[in-house]
C-alpha cells in the first residue's frame, strides 16, 4: 500500500515537474527568439543570430539557451556576448566614446545646417533691405 502510494506520489511529482519544464521552455523559446533578433551573427554579418544558419550562430543560440536556463537576464547574456565578441555583436551600439560621433553626429550636422541657414537668410534679408533703400 505504502509502495503504491509512493509510486503515485512519484508519478504526480514527475508529471508536474515535466509540465513545469514545458512551460519554462516555451518561455525561454520566446525569449531566445526575441533576443537573437537583436544580436548579430558574426559569420554572415548582416543577418541576425535568429536568421542565421551558420554553425557559429547555432552554437551561440545553444549557449544563450543554456544561460537562460541558468536564470541569466537578457542584459547579462548580452554582456556575456559583448565580453567575447565586442560591441559589434549587438545591432544597437552602446553610447560610449568611440560611438559618440555615430549617435550625435547627425544632430551636430543638423545644428550646423540650421546655423548656416539662419546666416544665409539674414544676409539675404540685409541685401534685400539695402536694395530697397537704394531704389
Amino acid at each position: 500500500m505504502i509502495r503504491n502510494l509512493s509510486l503515485v506520489l512519484l508519478l504526480a511529482f514527475a508529471t508536474s515537474s515535466f509540465a513545469n519544464e514545458i512551460v519554462t521552455d516555451s518561455h525561454i523559446d520566446a525569449r531566445l527568439r526575441q533576443l537573437s533578433t537583436e544580436l548579430r551573427c558574426l559569420v554572415c554579418q548582416n543577418s541576425t543570430l535568429a536568421d542565421s544558419d551558420a554553425p557559429l550562430a547555432q552554437d551561440l543560440r545553444r549557449e544563450i539557451r543554456k544561460l537562460m536556463e541558468a536564470g541569466k537576464t537578457d542584459e547579462e547574456i548580452v554582456a556575456y556576448l559583448v565580453e567575447r565578441y565586442g560591441d559589434f555583436v549587438t545591432f544597437r551600439p552602446p553610447v560610449n566614446a568611440s560611438t559618440a560621433l555615430l549617435w550625435f553626429g547627425p544632430f551636430i550636422m543638423l545644428i550646423i545646417g540650421a546655423i548656416t541657414l539662419v546666416i544665409v537668410l539674414k544676409k539675404r534679408a540685409a541685401i534685400l533691405t539695402s536694395e530697397e533703400n537704394a531704389s
Partner: protein
Amino acid sequence: MKLKLILPLLLFVVLVGFLGKGLFLNPREVPSPLIGKPAPTFEAPVLGDSSKTFYTEEMKGKVWLLNMWASWCVACREEHPLLVEMRKHDIPLYGLAYKDVETNALAVLESMGDPYITTANDADGTIGIDYGVYGVPETYVIDKKGIIRYKQIGPITPEALRDTILPLLKELAV
C-alpha cells in the same frame, strides 16, 4: 572670401579621403575585446589522446601561441606550412581543434606535419565561444601572466609574423 569658394572642395576631399580609406578596411575583421584581458581558462582533452587533459593553468609563466584551426577549414590548410616552419624555430605553438572530428584533425596533422606542442580538442566549440572565435583560423599570443596580447584573425601571413608576432614574442620573453 577665397576660403568660402575652396571650403566645399576641401570638405569633399576630406569625405573622399574617409571613403577611400573605408574601401581598404576589412569589414570582416572584428577587433577582439579580449586583447589586454586574461585569456579564458579551460581544460580540454588532448587531441589523439583523450586520456590526457590540456590545462591553460599549466601555461602560466610561459609565453605561448594558441592557434584555433580545423580540418574542414581551407584557410587553415594555407596557413599550415607556415606553422610547421614556426615550430622548427621553436615558437611555442599550441593548437585547438575547433569543432572538428578527431580522426579528420589527426589525419591533417599526419599528412601535413604537426606544428603543435599539444593540440586541445574543442569538439563542440564552447572554448571557441569563450575566446570570441568567429572564423578559424585565429591565433592568440598569450603572455606569462596569461594576458592575451595579440589576436591574428585569419591565417598568419609571413608579414604579420615578421612585423608583429615575432617582435611581440621577443618583447614578451624578457
